[in-house]
Each structure stands twice: as C-alpha cells, then as structure tokens.
C-alpha cells in the first residue's frame, strides 16, 4: 500500500519548564482514532509501553526525542521539548491483521475475517486529478480490473472484479456507500475526498451477503466521520494542466495527400477532385492544424475544505468541495460542487448516525467511440490537412462537404452545445439500540436513499450539419430529465459474544431495496431567433414538419430479502463464518420470484499457534477458504419476464407492438465461487502480502438463445450457459528500509484471470459479427473472431487471407475462414508502486499494466479504407500496391476492402506510468509554532507515459473494440497543497 500522506497529528500542550519530568500521553490510530495499546516508547535510555487504554508514562529530561513504535504502524519520533503531555497518532502503513475491514453488513478485523477483501484508503488515492472515484483505484489492488475507456472528465470507467462473470448481463460491481446502494457508473457528482475507505469484497463470503446483487463483487465505501478529538480543519487545493497524449497513428500531410490524389491510380481515376497544377501546388502548402483547433491544454482546479471533531457523545465531519476540470477537447469538462455532513450521536443505549450528501455537477461532453461523421473526434482523423478549420476572416471554413466528406468539426462542436447536469443526494439515517438487559444484543435500522436527478440538454444549431439533419432541417433543442430514486431499508437484530474461548456473532436481517426510475423529455424543432434553448422552438403544426417529440418512461423494481450472517471463532485462532440470504424480486416471473443464496468460510490463524509464536521469520500467517453463491440482476428491463406491448404509431393512429417476449422461466444467473488464500507477514511485517486463488462458475448464464428469426426475433434472453473465471491474485508489500529518517516501500500486485465458457445454448458457439467477437465453448468469452490477413499478393495487389485451416491463402474473403485470434479482455493486469520518504520529502510512483488481450482498431479501418480517400487517410496508404511486383502490406485500391481481418487487430498490452508524485511534508515540530498541525506540498504527473504498441492514442479500450473517435485518458501535471489546522 502506497501512502501519500503522513497524516500524523499531534497535539502538544505547553507546560512550564522542568529539568526532568514525567511525560504522559495517549497513543491513537490516525485512521479511526482508536486507542493503541502495546506501543513501545523509548527515549533517553528509558522505555515504556501503552496500556489497554492507550496511555503511557515515561520519565525523561526536557528535549528528549521520543520514538514510538508498534507493529504495523509507521514509526514516529519527535522531540517532546518541554511538554509534559504528548499525545500522538500513529499511521497504519501496512496491511496487517489488526486492520479493520468492512465485510459487508459487518465490520471485522482482518484477523477475524475469512473473506477476500481488498481495502484501499481514500486518502491514498484521492490526490489524483480524476473526477470519477472508481478510476482512482486502478492498479491499487489485485483482482480489480479498472479500464477507463474515456478521458472525458467525469466519465466512468469499467470496473470488473475477478473476471467478467456475465456475457449479456452487467459486469459492474455493486456499490454500497455508507450502507446505501448507489447506482454504478454514475459517479460524476461524488466527491472522492469524502471517502475514508474502499472495501472490495471479492469472494462469496462477502458477495453472498448481497444475494441477487452481489455476483460481480461489491465495493463497500465508507465516508469520513468525526472522532472524539479536538476539532480539525483541513484545506486541500490543487491546480494542474492536461494535454492530449501522442498517437502512433499517422495521417497524411497536405503534400502527401495531394500527391496521393494526383499520382495513385484508383477505380474512379487519378486526381478525382480535378486539381489543376496550381491548385495542387498551393493546397500542398497548407497544413491545417485541426489538432490545435479541437484540443487545448486544459486546466484542473480543485478545492476542498473539511472539518471534523467531536466529543464522547457527538462526532461530526463536514466537507465542501469544488472540482473544475476542463477536458482536453474544447467545450468539454466537468464542474462539481459538493457538500457533506456526517453526524454521530450517542444517547444512552442509542447510537444515531446521520449522513447527508449533496453533489451537483455539470458535465459537458462530446460524442466518442463511434464512426459518425458528425463526431468532432473523428474529424481530427478525417479532416483533410489542406482544408483549414477557419477561413482567413475567422469564420468557420465550410468548404463543401464533398471535399472532406464531413462537416466542419469545430463548428459542430462549438455551435451544438450539450450539457448534463446532475444533482445527487445520498443520505441515510441509522439507529442502533443496545439492549441494556442482555449484553451483546442490539437492534439496528438503516434507512438510506440514493437520489439522482439528471438533466440533459442538447442544442443543434440550424447552421450546422447535425442541425440540418434534425426533423424539419432547422436545428433542434432537446431536454431530457430523469429521476432515479433508490431506497435501501435494512433492519437487523444481532447478538455478539466478543470475548472468551468461544466468540460468536449472529445477525438477522430484513432488507428492502426499491428503485423507481422515471424520465421525461422533449425535443423541439425549427429553431428561430437568437435563442439557444427551448425558447427558439417553432410550435409544430400538421403542415410545418416541426412536431416536437415527447417521451416519458417510468419503471420500478424491488427486492425483499431476509438473511442471516453468523461468525464463530475458537480461541481467536479458528474462524468460521456463514451467510444465508433469501431474495424475492419483482423482476422475475410469479413462480420464480424467490431465490436463496449462501456462503460458508473458514480461516486458521497459523501464526497464533504456539509452535509459531517463536518464529522470527513469520509474524503473521493466515489460511482461509470460502465457498458460496450470489447472483447478478443487471440484465433486461424491470418487467423482463412479462410479455410486453409498447406503443407505436402509423398514419397518425396509435398502435401496439410486441416489445418483450414472455419468459416465465427467467431467473438470476448465479455465480458460485470458491476462494482459498493465505495472508502473511514476514520479518516483523516488513514483508506482507497475500496469495489467493479462486474459481467462480456462473451457472444459468444469461445468453441470447438463438431462435428462428422467422418469429420476428432471433434471440431470447435465457438462463443457459456456464462460464468459468479462475484466477490467482498476488499482492506484496515490502519495506526494505525503515529508519528514523528514511522509509522506503515497494508494493505490487498481479492478477491472472482465465475466463472460459463451459456451456452455451446447446450450440457450440455464438457469433457477434458486429463486434467481430465470438463466444465458443472452451474459449474465453468475447474472443476475437476474424479472418486472418495474409498480406498482399505482389502480382495482383489483392489482399490475401488465410483459409480456415491456416494452411493456404486465398484472394476471396470468406467469413467461413474466421478463426479466434485472441481475446478482448486482458487476462493479466495489476500495478506496482514504490515510495521513498526522506525526512518528509517523499517521491512515489505507480505503474499500472495489463496484457494478454487484443484490440480491434476501428479507428484505423476508417483511415485505411481506400474508398474514403475523399477525407484524410493513413500515411500507410502511401505504400499502397500500385503495380505488379510491389511488396507492401496495403492492398490495391481496386481490391475489395475487408475490415474484419487481423489487419486491424492489435496487441492491447500496455504499461503506464499512472502517477508520479513528489511531495514535501515539513517536520511537525517546526510547524507547531505556526498553529498548523499538518502541511504537505506536492506535484504529481498523471498518465505521463504509456508503453504500448497500439496505433492510436490510448490502449485502454474497455470493450477491446475501438469504433473510432477516441477520447484518450488525460495526461496531466498538477501541483497542490494540503494544510491542517
């Protein structure tokens, strides 16, 4: 685990001066404020240890340097000066058995937990200049693949935990924020700085607790809370610049393009635009800079203020933040303002917690990952270099579309603004009552809400190409509003016996999760006047063609659950846990609504055995195993099991059309997973790590069962197949040097996930020709299925293709020659980091990597298709076959162009310098007199360099299939400061 902040808070009280005196104080955990016992304090040849309430007492002279040490915590040394009370907080630096993890509905220490859980500290990752929190987690932890396909500020990444367990269903994990389910991929309005911990539940022990929602893993997020401490104020500020990374895909310059047009033979003859010699000469000299017209060096500014404190009864945490990130494409960006108040109050046997969060954001984006000629990011590729974005007088250059085959992208982008405003409220009230008559018995209730309101506005100016395509041809203005309201109500009763030889906990739960979604939208046409909003819409009549479109939708689902979670330990060395959960869902057919899930797990703390207690080598050793089931519900609509008829219209009359087939047998796809692992700490936890292996079988896999298209549909969603994900995860953290002044840590993680289809719908394979992919029994889901390209026949210029058996080549492209040539999803991935801290100066870096996958580069298809020579094309086409004997890889333009071949399949592996940070934390003692309790300055680089063979901007393509119009991840440098009072 890399640490970015020291976060050491000391409170020094001044007392009169004495030569030799008793220094006392309390040592607490910097993270949760818990008192720490067993901390060794040394100074001036004396030693002391904190007692069970974290207190110590030591007799030393003035100005003695005290050294505080405890297993698993960063050493802390400081000059006690003339103080007689020195309270300190120690920072947990390495994962160890005392670390607290959220196991789902409960909290345990790692010692007790039998689950596979990755915990990531919010403060460790939050400084990265990224708008959407899940992207912060990339490379931090094994088993979690995070692919940010888009660099648009605020866009969400694809998160996959332990391989894709579904083919058609969602593979997004379940996100639980302070006990409340929140919508995945909808994080633009969440402030990452509020987050205390991310707990990623990966095995069945954790996911079974969430039953029908848990199969893709669960990310349980807790936000920061106040503690019984002096009120602390923290202010963070950050400022930075981002830019477009380099692309390996080279396009023609004006001179090259004109040369190509004039001198390369093609089906419709040379010089198709009919340039005269003078025109050709002058055009060759123009080198239009579309990149500068469409992209910019963009700015990121971030401010956050938080205040935390409390007493033994009431604790609070409050924060406010502003995040303003421009995208590198002009007009794009994310601006977010957030506020949070978390309160905890104890009243007798009651504990009451209240979380309120409000986030408001405006997200301005542009089209990406498409092949549409109106998409500005495609224009960057396709605009002819001899056509400038602007005319000399500064107006848009709208040289006839024929020249470029596309509209002026700058105009399309600037004149057609789009905005997405979001208001997000996440709140919850939880009440706990501890029964006074029976110790250990408690009742809890948690009522939470996740409410999101989205407002999307899209304006198409009547003078633009896209505007001319609107109904009536005179622009449009549309607004779409959606409201998503999800309530989570959890009620439980639990009994805990926390000490003794037999320790156990049993909890019974009832939970209801209800979600209601409704949407309303309109698009009006025929814009008049100066308005760039609804005011310009022409009222529609039957003759003017400007009849507006109005849409409305509402859908609802609910899960009702009963479940029990139990844990038992013997001598605090042997642990057993079990969960059983029964879920009833509104989404399934009447006879099929209820499903039961469950898991069992056990662990053995080997290092607690007597025979291990004297081991100098091994400090911690724990073995664990678990098995259980959970399900995935992210498929289809809320009424997927019913035969549904939706509205249609013909000749002004409303009608009904079949929109959904009846599926009386539909049920969840269930993931059964087995996990076994070992957690270890060696050499006083200088080396810690874990190795885990898992095998997860998805049964009742959702597949589109192929049915005869003569029914008007050719697939039916059915629980059919079987899919296996098995893998191994390794995490290792080493502290090679830990002295008074220098701490050096190295960390790394590695995951191998093998995905394999075990059964399909009776057939052996299922091809998706649109994405060049196939699901075949025995192979990875989402394998790439294309014809193998064999180069160019020097005699004829025809492309050659390998036949299916691979033994021969043919001039005739035949889809029957398609074979599997790789997979879209990377099987190997991870990250590694290191940091060196020398007297408060810290340098750290994080690399992330993934490999073993391939990418279909559709971006290249569109610039290597000789038919598209009317717009700009790849430089590689200059080596096009022209006459017999030419040895080249680019076929003759007379040859039929075939995109679905290995010619466009590229290696997707990469390694990226995800983050590099240099920071300085001045010594605390020095800060004391300025009343500053913590101070940190940093400069960091994000995505500064990526090693990859991919011919494009960014090899991080979440689907593996790049259509075009790629918005690459930002390359950013920021400077910032954290100050605590």
């Amino acid at each position: 685990m890399k640490k970015l902040t020291l976060a050491i808070i000391i409170i020094i009280n001044s007392f009169p001066l004495f030569a030799q005196k008793t220094v006392t104080g309390t040592v607490t955990d910097a993270q949760d404020g818990a008192v720490l016992s067993g901390v060794n304090i040394t100074g001036n040849g004396k030693a002391a240890t904190t007692n069970s309430s974290g207190k110590y007492s030591i007799e030393v002279p003035d100005n003695t340097v005290l050294l505080f040490t405890r297993v698993g915590y960063a050493e802390l040394s400081l000059n006690a000066g003339i103080n007689s009370v020195v309270d300190v907080s120690l920072q947990l630096i390495r994962r160890n058995l005392q670390e607290v993890v959220i196991t789902g509905y409960n909290i345990q220490t790692r010692r007790q937990s039998v689950s596979s859980i990755s915990k990531i500290g919010g403060d460790d990752v939050r400084s990265q200049p990224i708008g959407s929190f899940e992207q912060l987690l990339q490379g931090r932890s094994p088993g979690i693949l995070i692919q940010s396909q888009s660099g648009q500020p605020g866009s969400a990444a694809t998160v996959t935990i332990r391989g894709k367990g579904s083919v058609l269903g969602s593979t997004d994990p379940l996100y639980i924020l302070d006990g409340v389910q929140i919508t995945s991929s909808d994080f633009q309005s969440i402030n990452p700085s509020d987050i205390e911990t991310y707990n990623v539940l990966k095995d069945a022990m954790g996911t079974a607790q969430y039953g029908s929602r848990g199969a893709n893993g669960v990310i349980v997020i807790t936000t920061k809370r106040g503690a019984n401490q002096k009120t602390r104020l923290n202010y963070d500020v950050q400022y930075g610049k981002s830019e477009l990374p380099n692309s390996k895909l080279q396009l023609m310059s004006s001179a090259e393009k004109i040369n190509y047009e004039l001198n390369y033979d093609r089906p419709d003859g040379m010089n198709p635009n009919g340039w005269t010699a003078e025109e050709a000469d002058s055009l060759s000299k123009i080198n239009a800079n579309w990149k500068d017209a469409l992209f910019r060096k963009s700015t990121t500014v971030q401010h956050q203020l938080s205040i935390a404190g409390g007493n033994d009864k009431t604790k609070f945490f409050a924060s406010g933040s502003v995040f303003d990130q421009q995208g590198i494409v002009i007009t794009t960006g994310l601006r977010r303002v957030t506020g949070r108040i978390n309160l905890d109050h104890t009243l007798g046997n009651f504990r009451i917690g209240l979380n309120t969060y409000i986030g408001s954001s405006k997200f301005t984006n542009t089209n990406e990952n498409d092949q549409f000629i109106g998409s500005p990011l495609n224009a960057l590729r396709w605009a002819n270099p001899y056509v400038t974005p602007y005319l000399p007088d500064g107006s848009y250059n709208e040289t006839d579309l024929l020249l470029q085959g596309q509209p002026n992208a700058v105009k399309e982008l600037v004149e057609n603004p789009v905005s997405n405003k979001q208001l997000k409220l996440v709140g919850g009230l939880n009440v706990e009552y501890r029964f006074p008559m029976i110790k250990g018995l408690a009742a809890r209730s948690n009522i939470g809400i996740d409410y999101t309101e989205n407002e999307r506005q899209q304006y198409f100016d009547r003078s633009t190409y896209q505007g001319s395509q609107q109904t009536g041809g005179r622009g449009s203005f549309g607004q779409n509003e959606t409201k998503n309201n999800r309530q989570t109500i959890t009620t439980s009763i639990s009994y805990t016996k926390p000490s003794g030889v037999h320790r156990y906990n049993i909890s019974l739960f009832n939970e209801v999760v209800k979600r209601k979604f409704n949407g309303f939208g309109y698009t009006g046409f025929g814009l008049v006047g100066p308005f760039k909003n609804g005011a310009g819409i022409t009222p529609g009549t039957s003759s003017n063609g400007f009849i507006p479109v109005v849409t409305s939708t509402e859908t609802e689902n609910a899960i009702l659950s009963y479940f029990a979670i139990g844990d038992y330990s013997y001598r605090n060395k042997y642990f057993i846990s079990g969960t059983v959960r029964r879920d009833g869902s509104s989404r399934l057919a009447d006879d099929n609504k209820w499903t039961t899930f469950g898991a069992v797990g056990a662990s053995w703390l080997v290092s607690a055995e007597n025979f291990m207690s004297n081991s100098k080598l091994i400090s911690d050793l724990k073995l664990k195993v678990s098995y259980g089931s959970s399900a995935n519900q992210g498929v289809g609509d809320d009424y997927e099991a019913k035969e549904q008829f939706g509205p249609s219209s013909y000749n002004g009359t409303g009608g009904l059309i079949l929109t959904n087939l009846k599926k009386g047998d539909l049920t969840w796809e269930v993931r059964r997973s087995f996990n076994a692992g070992v957690d270890f700490g060696i050499l006083k936890n200088r080396v810690t790590g874990s190795v885990e292996c898992y095998n997860a079988n998805t049964v009742g896999l959702y597949l589109n069962r192929q049915v005869s298209g003569t029914n008007g549909v050719n697939t039916v969603l059915t629980n059919l197949g079987k899919l296996q994900n098995r893998g191994i995860e390794v995490a290792l953290n080493v502290t090679p040097v830990q002295t008074k002044n220098i701490t050096w840590t190295i960390g790394g993680n590695f995951t191998y996930n093998k995905n394999k289809i075990l059964a399909l719908d009776g057939t052996n394979e299922n091809v998706n020709a649109n994405l060049n992919s196939i699901n075949r029994v025995g192979e990875s889901a989402n394998s790439i299925y294309v014809v193998r390209y064999a180069g160019v026949d020097p005699a004829t210029g025809d492309a050659l293709y390998y036949t299916k058996d691979g033994k021969g080549t043919t001039h005739q492209y035949d889809p029957n020659d398609k074979v599997i040539v790789g997979k879209y999803d990377p099987p190997y991935f991870g990250g590694f980091n290191s940091s060196i801290n020398l007297k408060g100066i810290e340098a750290s870096f994080l690399f992330t990597y993934s490999f073993g996958n391939k990418i279909f580069n559709g971006d290249r298809v569109n610039v290597e298709n000789p038919l598209y020579y009317v717009s700009n094309i790849s430089k590689d086409l200059l080596t096009e076959w022209q006459q017999p004997g030419d040895i080249t890889n680019i076929p003759s333009p007379f040859n039929d162009f075939q995109p679905n071949t290995t010619r466009f399949v590229e290696d997707g592996g990469y390694i990226r310098l995800r983050n590099i940070t240099l920071s300085y934390t001045p010594a605390l003692v020095m800060l004391g007199k300025y009343k500053v309790s913590s101070l940190r300055f940093f400069v960091q680089g994000q995505n500064l360099y990526t090693w990859s063979k991919f011919k494009g901007y960014d090899p991080e393509v979440a689907t593996g299939y790049l259509q075009g119009a790629q918005y690459p991840a930002l390359k950013a440098i920021t400077v910032g400061m954290n100050i605590g009072l």
Binding site: V431, I559, E643, K662, V707, N714, N865, F897
Partner: protein
C-alpha cells in the same frame, strides 16, 4: 418516561421490519407498456395490434432507410443497372452493389428479421381474435383480413429475395411460411410452389373476409394525402396481380390487375408529380405512410438532408426517357448542386410537398400503383401472345406519362423489350428492377458509369440471397440457399 420512549422506538423498529416484509413490495406491474397476458380482450386491442403491424413496415430495414438495409424499397435497385455508386458514398452498401454479400451480412440478417417482424405482428393480431367473432364478426373480419393480406404480402417480399425460383410450380427452395406466433417453432423452407400456395391462400381468404365487414377499411374515394394507407380489397387485388405476374400465371394476373385498374385509373399528367410529394394519392392502391420523425425512404440512394447522392441514376437508365416530355423524368430526377457542380440525383423520395424547401427524405412509400398494374397486364397479355392488347396497355400508360406521345407499334421481342424498359422508367427505385431481372433469368449489365463489378452472371448464386447465418445456426430445419 424515558423507558417509554425507548419502547416506542423499539416498536418503530419492529414496524419498519414488518412493513418492509409485505410481499406486495415485489409485485410490480409495468405502467408504460401493456402486459400481453392481460390485454387482448377487446376488438380495440386487436385494432391497435394491426396498426402496430403496419408500423413495422416503417423499419429502416423494410421501407425506411437511414442506416438500415432499406431492403424492400431502394436496395434492390442499387444492385442493378439502374444506379451506380458515386464517390459521395460512405460505402455501407457496397456489398450489395458489388454482389459480394455472404451469409453473415448484417443487412441481410436485418432484412430477414424486419420482414418476419411484420409477420410476427400480423400473427399476434390474429392470435385468439376468433374468440370475438361471435359478438362482433364484422369488426373481426375487418382486422383479420388486413392482417392476413399483410402477412401474405410480406411473405411474398421474402420470397422475391430468398426464393430460388419464381414460377408458380417451381419445386426449388422457397421460404418458411409462418402463420402462428410461437417462439419455439423452427420452420423449414417450403418449395416455391408451396410458398405461392400459402401466399395466395391468405390473400384469397382476406378478399373473402373483406366482403363482410362492419365498415370500410378506409375511404374508397378519398385522394387526401392520408388516404390509402391500409390494405383494402383494391390493394389486395393489386397484390394478387403482382404475385400472379411473378408466378407466370397470366390469366390471373390479367384478372386482378384489371380489377385494380378499374378501381384506380391512371393519374393525370398534372397530378402525377404531386403523387411523389404526397399532395395526392391518385392511382395509388396502397402506400405506406411515413410521417415526420420516421426514417427517410430513399436515403441510401440520395440523402436529401445531407445532400449526399451515394447512388446516382445511370446514363443507361436516363437515356431511356424522353427527358423533355416525360413527366416521370422531372418527377424522379433533378440536377442538384454540390461542390459547385451539378449532378443528377433521385428525387422520388425527397420530401412531402410542405418540406420541399428543406427536404428531409420523409415520404410515403408507394407500394402499389396503377402504372404497375398496366405493365403487369401488358406483360401478361404478351405472355399469352395477345400482342395487340399488350401494346394497347403499354400505349395507354405511355400516353398518360409522355406529352405528345405517338402510340408505339412494337411487336414480338421489341414489344417485350418495350414493356421491360417501361417498367424501368416507371418503377425505378420502387423495388422491382432486381426482381424483374431475376425472374426472367437475365444478367445485370452496368454498361455505363462502371469500372469494377459491372456485371452479374445470370447463373450467379447471388441472385438468391443467402439465409442469414444466425438462422442457419438457430434453425436446424432450414436449408441454405444453393451456393452459399
């Protein structure tokens, strides 16, 4: 007192638990769609389902176009000598104009599905409708007859692309004829003859039911732009005429085309251009009504909104017209500027009258017109060697279209050529040329405007579309078209 408060709170906790345990929580019903198990109790439900069946024809893979296959409108012409691909094309339909399609072609798959989706909706309209017959027979007949006729018509469109033969008694592979909605059925291909049998049976049953209805399907006389959007008896006769003509059954073709001609005389020269602007429906037997927000119809040929003429008429076609006197020429083609140069583009589907200034490509697709009926009858007479009658029909049509037309005197092969040329001129981009060549075993020969892929041999496998690969995989009973 304090204890009392605790008790209340505990009671509240218990209540929350109890409330949330109610199984009604998970018993939710859709509000913006209708549950098929609940609906279909009233004739209005069936009428709505029938409207839904017609609306399926608006699909971009049937008569609509933008980004779809446009299979039953202009795609078939793009495969022939009527059109050539220009440099404005984005190349999305090159597989068709170059005849390089294979069984995994996405557009062929989409076209197959789009056709059977209309049939699905017809079959859903017919599902259990008979249980209402006892109470409202006339209304049931009105709905049922249209569903049967539409089902037959769409099957015939499928047969045109996928049938290995055209003649009535051909034993070559035809198409699956689907007359119930059952997701598990895996029908096999009937022979061409059996396909015709089923198509004609449905059409004749529809005609019979149309004799006993509670009210007319639509106004028999209105020529308003919204008129003739449904299949009534006149349209059914027109469909039968076309089916019998393809099948080579001249007598029946003459019989039904004559009935259609009698009911719908040819448009005047003044009215003819207005048909294409949807300003009237003169001589239209049935047109599929496109309204704003539907897809454009001929976008794949000429995308009016973006002024992109991906496919243009060949010189070989335009040379057939008397470009000055023939009202069709100016109704169908126009020189439009792009990049400072004029080029001839297809304007048949450019816009309705009100939108001509800003054409959006949204027009009705004229499925059946009297012009075609005359050509069917002329062809049928010629087949029966009744040359005088054939020539008379041909001359009537030409006189109606061409100012100052001097009646022709063609005989023998010249007469057959004249009828064929007249079909090209009259019906360009109405979805006929490819099938006219196919059913007479001719080749495509692009003798003008062509460098590569200029001819398709009469014996080539591509004359019959392949059954989509998805269908082959899903349906073990279906046989692939020969050669694929």
């Amino acid at each position: 007192m304090k204890k009392l408060i605790y008790r209340y709170i505990i009671a509240a906790l218990v209540l929350i638990a109890t409330f949330s345990s109610c199984t009604k929580t998970i018993d939710l019903k859709p509000t913006h769609t209708i549950d098929g198990d609940v609906a279909f109790t009233k004739i209005e439900d069936y009428e709505a389902a029938l409207t839904g069946a017609y609306s399926r024809l608006l699909s971009v893979n049937y008569y609509g176009s933008s980004n779809g296959s446009n299979a039953f409108a202009t795609l078939s012409d793009m495969m022939t000598d009527n059109l050539y691909e220009s440099s404005e094309s984005l190349g999305n339909y090159q597989n068709f104009s170059h005849w390089t399609y294979t069984a995994d072609d996405a557009n062929i798959d989409a076209s197959w599905l789009a056709a059977y989706r209309v049939i699905q909706q017809c079959n859903l309209t017919l599902r259990n409708i008979d249980k209402l017959s006892s109470t409202n027979e006339g209304a049931v007949n009105r709905v049922k007859s249209q569903a049967l006729a539409l089902r037959a018509f769409v099957h015939f469109d499928v047969l045109r692309y996928w049938g290995e033969g055209s003649l009535r008694n051909s034993t070559l592979k035809g198409i699956p004829y689907v007359s119930i909605f059952d997701i598990e059925q895996k029908p096999s291909r009937l022979s061409v003859k059996e396909s015709y049998d089923a198509i004609i049976r449905d059409l004749q049953e529809a005609r019979g039911l149309m004799q006993n209805m509670d009210k007319a399907i639509q106004s028999a006389t209105s020529t308003a732009s919204t008129a003739r959007g449904y299949i009534d008896e006149i349209a059914t006769n027109g469909i039968l005429a076309r089916v019998y003509n393809y099948a080579g059954e001249a007598d029946s073709a003459i019989r039904y085309s004559s009935m259609a001609i009698a009911a719908r005389p040819l448009a005047s020269k003044a009215n003819f251009p207005l048909i294409w602007q949807d300003a009237n429906t003169a001589e239209v037997l049935w047109s599929v009504k496109f309204t704003p927000l539907n897809s454009g119809v001929g976008d794949n040929v000429y995308y009016a909104t973006g002024n992109r003429a991906s496919y243009r008429p060949t010189l070989n076609l335009t040379a057939l017209y008397d470009q000055v006197n023939d009202v069709r020429y100016a109704s169908y083609f126009q020189l439009r500027a792009r990049g400072g140069a004029n080029r001839l583009v297809l304007i048949k589907y450019i816009a309705k009258q009100a939108q001509l200034a800003r054409p959006d490509g949204i027009t009705d697709f004229k499925v059946l017109r009297t012009g075609e009926m005359y050509l069917i009858r002329a062809e049928a007479y010629a087949q029966k060697l009744m040359e005088a009658a054939a020539l008379a029909d041909l001359n009537t049509l030409r006189a109606a279209r061409i100012n100052g037309f001097v009646p022709g005197t063609e005989t023998g092969p010249a007469l057959l050529t004249a009828i064929d040329n007249e079909r090209r001129k009259e019906l360009v981009c109405e979805g006929h040329r490819w099938f006219d060549l196919k059913r007479s075993d001719r080749l495509v020969d692009r003798i003008t405007n062509c460098n590569v892929f200029c001819s398709l041999d009469a014996a080539a496998r591509e004359w019959v579309w392949p059954i989509p690969q998805t269908e082959i995989l899903a349906n073990p009973n279906i046989a692939q078209t020969n050669g694929y």
